[in-house]
Amino acid sequence: MAGITFDNVTKTYGDGTRAVSDLNLDVEDGEFVVFVGPSGCGKTTALRMIAGLEEVSDGEIRIGERVVNNLQPRDRDVAMVFQNYALYPHMTVAENIGFALRMRKMSKQEARPRIEETARILGLVDHLDRKPRQLSGGQRQRVAMGRAIVREPQVFLMDEPLSNLDAKLRVQMRAEIARIQRQLSVTTVYVTHDQVEAMTMGDRVAVLRRGLLQQFEPPQRLYEQPANLFVASFIGSPAMNILEATLERNGDDVVCRVGSTTLTLPAEVLSARPALVSYVGKSVAVGIRPEALHHSGRLNGGSGRLRGVVRAIEALGPEQLAHVEVEAQPVLVEDVVEGLVDADQAEDLAEIMTDSDGAKAMLVARLDASASLRPEETVELAVDLRKLHFFDLESGATIGA
């Protein structure tokens, strides 16, 4: 058991590209940490550096107290589950699992019970004599896990182990993996591009983008207090609605003008974000999560409401997602778009961009199923002002303290 430390770690390739830039990160002993981000963000590279499959260009990686930069993978006492499982095709399940033990010259007598126990944990006892090609995808994935578990290493590394499974199996295996990790309490670093996976599995989640660490906190904090536009846009599904707004003074109040709507910011919002005051008179990005929008009947006047036209409705059983077109300027900087890379919202944005003659943005609101909406109907959405997020338009950083 050991923690993992990234100390100013950088990875540069021969042609100059920096896969990882100055990464500083501490994984606690026994913690389940997820590295998440869009493709090319460096998460897999970082993981492979822990394993020793990539060389560290600069900085140090420590496992426990040991600096492992120049240790061979086999000397690091880490186990890895690969995205494509990397099972030994010519060996049976039992031999696959037992290979590492064999490399450590463990006797058959000693190894067999360990293999059987691992197989039991993973439900593979009936398959011990099969070859990988005779197994289903899910079974192969479990063999890959078995290979890692049986070694009782200091660290588990997982490189998108579930991405080759179908959706339902994925959900099932997510729970399995989390359960096993808790049972064995081995320090685990898990890489995925799926933010839902990250949020449901990790004790803490590290969001990476283009080799740089954006934020490293427990999932809930990432959700409620994203550090910048990218994290705000990336975490959460459907993604946060991000609009351009101007902050103005209206007497004693600070108001936020979004398109044709003016939202008066309550005092608690201002006191929680002192820095906001310095942005008065300037444009900022304001973020509104879909669940921060509520249906407020039709055409009632009052502040704190956004008016728009319902363009699409997605019924999800207990709730519905309403796509509402409002008069406001969407924030389409890279930070936001890259964060949307997995969602359909990028598509919507593109559509709007091409056929808008005034500034229009498509908001997604998460509403109760009982709210009856009809397409092309004009509605008013009440905004929960306490849940607004504000971002600096240039740097993308959250405007907070």
């Binding site: 560290v56 600069d58 140090e60 420590r62 107290e65 040991r66 600096v67 930069n69 120049n70 240790l71 061979q72």
Partner: protein, 298 residues
Amino acid sequence: MSGTAASTARGEPRKLRTTKSAVRRHRAGRMLTYSFLAAVALIYLFPFLIAIATSFKTEPNATANPLSLAPSPPTTSAFHQLYQDQDFLLWVKNSLIVTLSVTFLRVFLDSLAGYALARLRFRGRGAAFATIVAVMAVPGVVLLIPKFLMIRQLGIYNTYYGMIIPLLVDAAGVFIMKNFFESIPTSVEESARIDGAGIFRIYWSIVLPMARPALITIFILAFQGSWNELAHFIISAQSTSLNTLTKGVAQLASGQLGSGNRYPLKLAASTLMTIPVAVLFFVFQRRIMNVASGAVKE
């Protein structure tokens, strides 16, 4: 890379030793690979360097200093002898005639057969293919006498026909073309058919131009194969006026042309003989090595 401070913030000493020795081990491994590669490459290439060098040596020099790469004195007398005393140019001419004929004909015939096997539907297609493969599995050497008998029987012994025609069968080439044609989407041919093109026209004007990569492959393999062929020329012709380079040099070497110990002459001949194939190889290395490793990408 790793710092030189003796302790971390937590007050534990770092394992500096592991760092340095691991780096050394890594570089040593790379050095080992390179030195192996270089050593083996030397073993593989040095003989050819000797061959080239010896072609420019005098006979006494070749006998006295067989290992040296520097002729002393350097001379082109071996080449002159090839030209004057031996029928070297005649051999070149014969080799060219045979090789170019075999190469172009093979390209044509293999593509025809490959196309038929790949695209045209007719009874017995599978059997035809199986036969081709099966018959070509017969070891070549076993066929020396049989081929001779037939060539003699047909009266084409000691003629170019006898040297060229039997070499036109090439199961490997048919295989390559068949595989290639199967990999082209049928939509191109189908649209040509709708436009009214007949089968041969489709083959000739539509599909064949698309097959250029595979055709080049066949060309190269056929050229190499027929240029380097020896046994077939031994059994298909006897007259020295039909000697190809391989046969001529073989007779030089085995002393049939009364050459005795004349190494510079023989090595000059074999070096010159290798040049066309070598050039072809260097130009098309990647393609040749891809095919040889069993993967015809096109």
